[in-house]
């Protein structure tokens, strides 16, 4: 089954949820959403989000790729690219 960007975005919201105190912010998530600025996620938790995404999509995200994952669009790019490998 091929996951569309929209599919990944919906799944990604579940990954982000435990790291977002204000759950109402999650409702408005789109590709432009910035994890730190818009969702008020603590930067230290980006590591946890990457680990959770790795396990959810059964992929490996290296340090260089992880550094790009600051917006939802970047996250989807990285996840799509890794899933295709």
């Amino acid at each position: 089954m091929i996951m569309t960007r929209q599919d990944i975005l919906e799944e990604l919201k579940k990954v982000l949820a435990p790291y977002t105190n204000d759950k109402t912010l999650l409702e408005g998530v789109n590709e432009q959403t910035d994890l730190l600025k818009d969702l008020k996620i603590n930067s230290a938790n980006l590591v946890d989000i990457i680990i959770d995404a790795e396990s959810k999509y059964n992929i490996e995200i290296d340090y260089d790729a992880a550094e790009k994952m600051t917006t939802v669009a970047n996250c989807i790019d990285v996840i799509q690219e890794r899933m295709a490998q």
Binding site: P18, Y19, K23, N45, V47, D48, I51
Partner: protein
């Protein structure tokens, strides 16, 4: 000019009661919090019982810490500490929502070690070459200052934030340090206390030392027996105690409810000399500590109404009663009342001093002396030192003005506090 220091808020996570109202009721009823732990029997420990709080972990979420902080919190000791500390802060009528740091308010909170049961998962991951999967939440819970970091961050405390550790004297030492900061004018408000979670691995190590109770495994509530002829070792306990100490003028100015006053205290070390070792106290150290506490509080030995002893239910109980007798020069019928909270909750190690101090202050505030439970067979050697009526086995309604609270810990550490009714 040294300041007077009063207690304006308290919180507790005790094996026999979580929260001040439940704990007070348990103290007055002589309720035990010692329970049978099937796992300890399965693991072939000698002691199968422990003092464990009926703690509902999920209650931390939202009420005490944010959803994100709660998610990934594994340290049981930290959970206990956060709950007791925030309860104390709220009990004092202080705000938990502070946008700016509270530069006048600090924290001294005691802790012993990370939750090693939780750390086992970390060790397993690393050994499986999966260190990358540990995430961001391990270090903050492994560090001994984790509990202080969570509490101070939650409240925005901006003065001194110290994590102390000195075995069984940790809790009383924390309160003493917090008191001294205010007394010397460094802060107006100090949140203080300590926490302990005796997990399976810490428990197992104590079990191996053959210092734990083992003859009452089938009757858990009878297993902790300080000063009893059948005392055969201590029962490990877990929990946390916390209090808000405040400079008197500040407390009065904001109309705070005052539980009691901290008159003074002392902490020292027997140097592991003159009979003192890693695990046993140098008698001279203990006696000196008690005397220094009297001097610091500017009171006389005959003013002490109640001793809240360390009294763990080992051979050291008798020695301890003797140290007090020598330090205070009071024996027999002249001995102060003496009780041991450990008869109800076991020995909460790093949390002992703070939970027992909360109990001492409640007795002052409510004017009663809690019973020593499991003392139907008092050791005759004990009654040679203190008159039998001074070691109550039922709750006494009494006018008490001054309580001495002491703890003695591994490393030959001593700490003694003196609390007084606020007048």
């Amino acid at each position: 000019m040294s300041k007077r220091v009063v207690i304006t808020g308290m919180g507790v996570v005790s094996p026999n009661g979580v929260g001040i109202p439940a704990f007070l009721e348990a103290l007055q009823a002589g309720k035990s919090g010692v329970k049978f732990v099937p796992l300890y029997e399965e693991l072939k420990f000698s002691c199968h019982v422990a003092g464990r709080p009926d703690f509902i972990w999920e209650e931390l979420q939202g009420n005490y810490i944010s959803d994100v902080t709660f998610y990934g919190l594994k340290g049981t000791n930290i959970g206990y500490g956060i709950r007791a500390a925030l309860d104390a802060w709220r009990d004092a009528g202080l705000s938990t929502d502070n946008d700016e740091p509270l530069w006048h308010a600090g924290l001294v909170f005691g802790n012993s070690t990370a939750d090693t049961e939780a750390m086992r998962n970390v060790i397993t991951r690393v050994d499986n070459k999966e260190a990358k999967k540990l995430g961001s939440r391990v270090v903050e819970q492994t560090m001994n200052s984790g509990v202080s970091a969570y509490i101070s961050g939650r409240l925005g405390l901006g003065n001194r934030i110290i994590t102390n550790s000195s075995a069984c004297a940790t809790g009383s030492q924390a309160i003493l340090m917090a008191y001294e900061y205010i007394k010397n004018g460094y802060a107006t408000t100090m949140l203080t206390g300590s926490c302990e979670h005796v997990d399976t691995y810490v428990y197992g190590a104590f079990d191996s030392m053959r210092v734990l109770s083992r003859k009452f495994n089938n009757e858990p509530e009878r297993a902790s027996r300080p000063m009893s002829l059948t005392a055969g070792g201590f029962v490990p306990g877990s929990g946390a105690g916390a209090m808000v100490l405040e400079e008197l003028e500040t407390a009065l100015a904001r109309g705070a409810t005052i539980y009691a006053e901290v008159l003074g205290g002392a902490t020292n070390n027997g140097g592991q000399r003159q009979g003192g070792t890693m695990t046993a106290a140098n008698p001279q150290g203990v006696i000196r500590c008690i005397n220094d506490a009297l001097t610091s509080s500017n009171i006389q030995a005959d003013q002490i109404d109640l001793i809240s002893g360390h009294l763990t239910a080992t051979y050291a109980d008798k020695a301890e009663l003797n140290y007090w007798a020598t330090a205070l020069n009071r024996r027999g019928d002249d001995y102060p009342y003496v009780n041991s909270l450990k008869s109800m909750i076991g020995h909460c190690l790093s949390a002992a001093g703070s939970i027992e101090s909360v109990a001492a202050v409640l007795q002052l505030k409510e004017q009663f002396i809690h019973p020593n439970i499991n003392l139907e067979d008092i050791d005759p050697g004990i009654t040679e030192i203190a008159g039998i009526e001074k070691i109550p086995v039922t709750t006494l309604k009494k006018d008490i003005n001054i309580v001495a609270k002491a703890n003695f810990g591994f490393g030959d550490v001593n700490a003694c506090l003196l609390f007084s009714k606020y007048k």
